[in-house]
Symmetry: none
Subunit: 414 residues, 2 copies
Amino acid sequence: MKAVLVVADGMADVPLKELNAKTPLEAAQKPSLNRVAQLGICGMIDVIAPGIPPGSDTAHLALLGYDVMEVYSGRGALEAIGSGIDVLPNDLAFRCNFATADKDFIVLDRRAGRIGNDEAAKLAAAITKSLREDPPEVGDVLFKNTIEHRGILRLSGPNLSTMVSDTDPHETGVKMLKARPLDESEEAKNTADILNKLSQQFHEVLKGHPVNKERENKGLLPANTVLCRGVGQMPELDPLALLYGIRPAAIAAVPLVRGICKVAGMRLISVPGATGTYKTDFIGKAKAAVQALQSHDFVFVHVKATDLASHDGKPREKIEMIEKVDTLVGHLLDNVYLDETIIAVTADHTTSSITKEHSGEPVPVAIIGPSVRTDDVVEFGERACAKGGLGRIYGRDLMPILLNLLGKGEKAGS
Amino acid sequence: MKAVLVVADGMADVPLKELNAKTPLEAAQKPSLNRVAQLGICGMIDVIAPGIPPGSDTAHLALLGYDVMEVYSGRGALEAIGSGIDVLPNDLAFRCNFATADKDFIVLDRRAGRIGNDEAAKLAAAITKSLREDPPEVGDVLFKNTIEHRGILRLSGPNLSTMVSDTDPHETGVKMLKARPLDESEEAKNTADILNKLSQQFHEVLKGHPVNKERENKGLLPANTVLCRGVGQMPELDPLALLYGIRPAAIAAVPLVRGICKVAGMRLISVPGATGTYKTDFIGKAKAAVQALQSHDFVFVHVKATDLASHDGKPREKIEMIEKVDTLVGHLLDNVYLDETIIAVTADHTTSSITKEHSGEPVPVAIIGPSVRTDDVVEFGERACAKGGLGRIYGRDLMPILLNLLGKGEKAGS
């Protein structure tokens, strides 16, 4: 027996007036998702706990069966690892944005006009050069741009602590922040000092850089500062293979989710055209999953596009993305052996198209497979699945339930 | 107000092709179980946690309201106590099988051809004699046969530890195992040494014993070795009477469940003809329960036969046993005062008739009694009860729910 878990990021939503009080999922044409619901067992998942809006990081850790309270150590390191940057135990990693600030350090745009990859690479190279010529007094610093305006800052060395505040104010029109120590330790103070010096140094490098001069000449916003947030350390996760006795593979494009899968010891399968954007190759992912099932017994497939649409507050686009997820699931249904494969579909969190933010409502789940106890639900939707046979479970319960269906449930006692 | 809790061991199952995708419980004729469902409130129980296949030991501890993680200390001691063997704190008890091994200690049959009680008693007597004549260097050793090929080994003395591996390989065609220490302690090493020496000593006693000579002459498998597994210590359970202020009684035949009930301080009521087998006297148990209600306010009734049928992979026999459980419940319904009695029916775990193993799906529960909040469920079954008013609860929640209905709920705060 084998299993595929499809997680459509932020797919769940709330009823929207413009959709006649339906959610985007309820309004979508989704024959394959409905087929999973109809032939399988449905329910609702509180990914973290009832009412708690999950982060994308904690959500995926929970859905993979980890105890988030125990293992979570900040998003920065997970995203760094997913971007191909090594993070060793005790290293700190921050998520960074190139941003635009005025002369008084008031943040004008947290994404520097969504600067592109090429310009970001040039600016990052200038920062790297500066770090080599004028290295910080202690430890080792790496800065790397990732996608568009995004980047990673990694600090290595003695006397570091995650107890340090962001320099990113998380809004525009206010001054960028000084990093502050969040406890009384010497390490926290030291880390805040390093971060503040680096902020200054990065600003000096960026403000006069030819890339920014050119942008300003074109009337574009200059990427003249770097905002840091979400400090994290490498989490200590037992690999899924060890925990559950399975051969796990993952198909995911966005760095954070890739990072989590990598740290969880899953084999990452790269799919050309799987981009983590609206234009991702949904069928390419499905095909890769079918292929991965030949040599793995648990395949995790992540789709980001559904979440992007809700963060942009575009329910129509969200519906379109859900319908593409439906084609992905349809391809799975048509191409796996349904008498020896379990397919589970869910979301990592609700994203409200009204607030454009993660929200704490539970997410629907449907599981199809041989000898699953079916129920009366015939539609994959937030309200339909609430009537399902699984009832309301926690995110961390999903993996044990799938493992049990795989015949790999770990008995308690004898 | 009084309460009866009927637990039919392994009664829950998965949909089976041969039953037109019904479970044995769904396929059974069960008017009395349906009456409890129809007039009562239904739900699903994750006896340990979602997806986790419960052991019979942990399952009953949880259904009686104990925190399994806190109190569980291995099955051996519970089964020993249920077999009438005293186990003191710090004693170790192992579950044993008389088994058949070849000259290279390859296990040919883990049950020595299901050797009978009389022969097993003679072999156990020879072991006891040998232990008296040639006692182990440290501590005290007791070996006692229980039912058929089964037995208990108890070790008493200083420097013992439960951190020791089984000698039972749990399969045939492989060599019986040497006990190994499972941690670095002197106690674990010492215990493994004792167990290995005893294995050798038992083998010497058994291999030339007249009972085995005779069996071999008849073409039967000799019981020439003893396999040990499931080491446990006496768990420290607060008695139910103390925890809940109730007078509890138990009607159970199998040693493990009797052991748990005894350690939980329940009065064990013996029913002639209640054997823990297919042929157990179901109505005898029901009559004993009705009688016990006169002097106790909580009566626990355990039936093993349902589980035996599923471990044997025989859904038709399982249906038959479920229909006998139905007569048991019918007798209760007809003979208790329904305006002052709560009757709850559930299972301790799902046993899949496909895999013949305990499985992690939740089990159905139905509770009838005055002032119970009823629901729309009219059938006692895995899928019907999933729509019940109780929703999905944990095993450890059942006792507080029953106690509340008994008017003995323990208030949190004031």
